[in-house]
Amino acid sequence: MFKILKKEELSDLVILFEIEAQDIAKKAKAGNFFTLRIDEQGERIPLTIADFDRKKGTITTVFQKMGKTTHHLGTLNAGDSIMDVIGPLGMHSHIENFGKVICVGGGVGIAPTYPIARALREAGNTVISVIGARTKDLVFWEDKMRAVSDELIIVTDDGSLGRKAVVTVPLDERLTEDKDIALVYAIGPAIMMKFVCVTTQKHNVKTIVSLNSIMVDATGMCGACRVEVGGETKFACVDGPEFEGHKVDFNLLMSRQRMYINEEKIAFERYKEKSGVK
């Protein structure tokens, strides 16, 4: 059992947990993820490691309530325990001094962007961060992101916070102005990463994305998470989750993410009925 030490409601839908997981905290690096299973009936879902504290022995994750499992998870409180926590999984980010980099975090993807931006900054990069969400309530960690960025740009779809734009707008501007951007990191919904890649391709800037495909064991055993990168089938769990964005088939990723859309509805309806969640 893995104890939740701290819970923070970053918005109505976005929750932060600090989970006691000594051994995972010791090994976690930017770009890693973990999987969890809430209880005996639970499914295994991958979540990002948004931060870790090696001394305290904790990992931090941020998730958005979407379907049954994440809503159920959101009902847990500090002091409660999660049955299984498995990690750190996936290849960690490749960090070096590239020079000037842009980190784009969209929605709940802001969370995993944070440790990467921090690591890039520590490695000597100039870090420009662009964070965005649909609306003000879904933006979080503004301060944390500012602390690890040389410059922070905030956008919302509705203009309720920062600039009224999608992330690709300031990204495109910066890439037009600044010819010495060496690398772009983008983590967020698949559709956002797809359009970030369309933008950066135009400017011919290498882009790393982190793919959030459906997983089961997340150790390479099942292949549920397969994605196509450069025309080759890869397993996001062990070959990734980070890949060169220009080579990723995002349409396939999005199609595969919708594979259980009917089952997700059934599970969520059933859960709502039982738990009274709206």
Binding site: G42, G87, T219, M221, C222, G223, R226, V238, R256
Partner: protein, 479 residues
């Protein structure tokens, strides 16, 4: 005269009752129902108690078969179970999933003229009897040796190795990457062939012996082997991580929705209990028309799970003929009885989507058999112009696995073969790196439960020797 003549005829084998095929094809309960005590005694009484028992030679872990069969004959069922456990920590599992027809039973002298003694059925009976009567005996723990051994992977190889080493007085930790112990016994073999409650009991027995089971521990990620040695004080390590990554066919359309590796399909159904969705949260596509590609036991398991999930049609598509199928005869027989349709000499060439990302058909090609290939089996050759399509909504390639590099790539000085499997001495399990032993599918590629158990036992024996002498022979690995 007439009567005497009949007496000489060997008695007929006592068949084990089974659920009716069309009934069981729609439930996840076990197919065979087990022997009654009377049936077990009757079957055991067929044994001739040979002076030179060949059956034991056919067993990869050399169970004392004549002795346990004799105990059954005498009605001493519990004692019979204990006798087996001297050599085999998982009798309820082996009684169910060992290919006895090519091992112990194939050597039985009765098999020369008629049917061999049903050794597997008898093993299963006594193991179940012991478990159900609650008389599982936990041997006294030996004096502690002060040595620590890490076993990576809690499948059949890891479990049998752990059971032996704990009896030698060592401190044994079994690390498992998944959230449940048992490896392939839990995620791979379906409930109707091996009820999970039985696996849990067998693992429980091994932890009662004193083995510490650590779940959710992905070695290579959470700890490296070097850290187990240097920071956690382990003296030796046995790697038994299994065969690993699923193979796909490399044909167009393979990443469409509705296409599962057999590993994924079975893991969802078995480990995650997706057949109980939505009571359990993990979903699985319950296809109406399902195609399974492959001819091994895993293909049979997948086909039979698909049926039980409610498929109307399940096609088993195999590119050679039935004679070349690697699956156990009993498995193909069961699958066919239950209504799986066999399409032999047929090869899938592409999977076709419905325009919304889901698979809706498979295009196949007829094959014919040519000259024998490297495996000694006749090579299938495509028949030109024989393409045809089958409507499906779920497809399951069950064409084997390759090695998972997750752990091995974190051990730089460990020798691997070209296919990424660990090179180890078959007899001892010794690898190129001092203190590391390996066995089971991570050495051999996909094989059987009992072979993995044999490898676990061999490794346990040589780990004991190693702890005594600290001698490491790497001459075999210098190329």
């Amino acid at each position: 005269m007439e009567e005497k003549k009949e007496d000489k005829q060997p008695k007929k084998r006592v068949t084990m009752k089974e659920q009716e095929p069309l009934v069981r094809a729609r439930n996840f309960m076990e197919v065979p129902c087990g022997y009654t005590p009377e049936e077990a005694v009757a079957e055991a009484s067929r044994c001739l108690s040979c002076l030179n028992p060949m059956c034991r030679k056919g067993c990869p872990v050399a169970i004392d078969i004549p002795s346990f069969v004799k105990l059954i004959k005498e009605g001493k069922f519990i004692e019979a179970a204990w006798k087996i456990k001297e050599d085999n920590a998982l009798p309820a599992v082996c009684g169910r999933v060992c290919p006895q027809e090519i091992q112990c039973e194939s050597m039985c002298i009765l098999g020369k003229k008629g049917e061999p003694v049903a050794i597997g059925n008898l093993e299963r009976f006594v193991a179940d009897y012991e478990r159900e009567k609650g008389e599982v005996q936990i041997p006294e723990r030996p004096k502690l040796s002060g040595r620590k051994i890490a076993i990576i992977g809690s499948g059949p190889a890891g479990l049998s190795c752990a059971a032996d080493l704990i009896k030698s007085g060592h401190q044994v930790t079994l690390f498992e990457a998944l959230h449940k112990p048992g490896g392939v016994l839990i995620y791979g073999i379906p409930e109707f062939r091996l009820p999970k409650a039985i696996v849990e009991k067998e693992v429980d027995y091994i932890s009662k012996l004193g083995v510490k089971v650590v779940l959710n521990a992905v070695i290579g990620k959470l700890f490296t082997i070097d850290e187990l040695f240097s920071e956690q004080g382990y003296d030796a390590c046995f790697i038994a991580t299994g065969a690993g990554l699923p193979m796909f066919m490399g044909i167009p359309g393979e990443n469409l929705n509705g296409i599962y590796s057999a590993n994924e399909f079975l893991t969802r159904a078995n480990l995650m209990k997706a057949y109980l969705f939505p009571e359990y949260d993990t979903p699985i596509k319950k296809g109406r028309n399902v195609a399974v590609f492959g001819g091994g036991n895993v293909a049979m398991d997948s086909a039979r799970v698909a049926l039980r999930l409610g498929a109307e049609k399940v096609y088993l598509i195999y590119r050679r003929s039935e004679a070349e199928m690697p699956a156990r005869k009993a498995e193909t027989h069961h699958a066919r009885e239950e209504g799986v349709e066999f399409l032999m000499l047929t090869n899938p060439v592409r999977l076709i989507g419905d325009g919304k990302g889901n698979v809706c058909a498979v295009e196949c090609q007829k094959m014919e058999l040519g000259e024998p290939d490297a495996s000694g089996r006749r090579k299938p050759i495509p028949v030109k112009g024989s393409e045809f399509q089958i409507e499906i909504d779920v497809a399951i390639p069950a064409i084997g696995t390759r090695s998972n590099p997750l752990l091995t790539k974190t051990i730089p000085d460990l020798s691997l073969n070209k296919r990424g499997y660990i090179i180890a001495d078959e007899e001892t399990g010794m690898t190129s790196k001092k203190g590391i032993f390996a066995g089971g599918d991570i050495i051999t590629g996909s094989a059987t439960v009992i072979l993995a158990m044999g490898a676990g036992r061999n490794a346990a024996r040589s780990i004991n020797e190693y702890l005594k002498w600290k001698y490491w022979d790497t001459s075999k690995f210098v190329s």
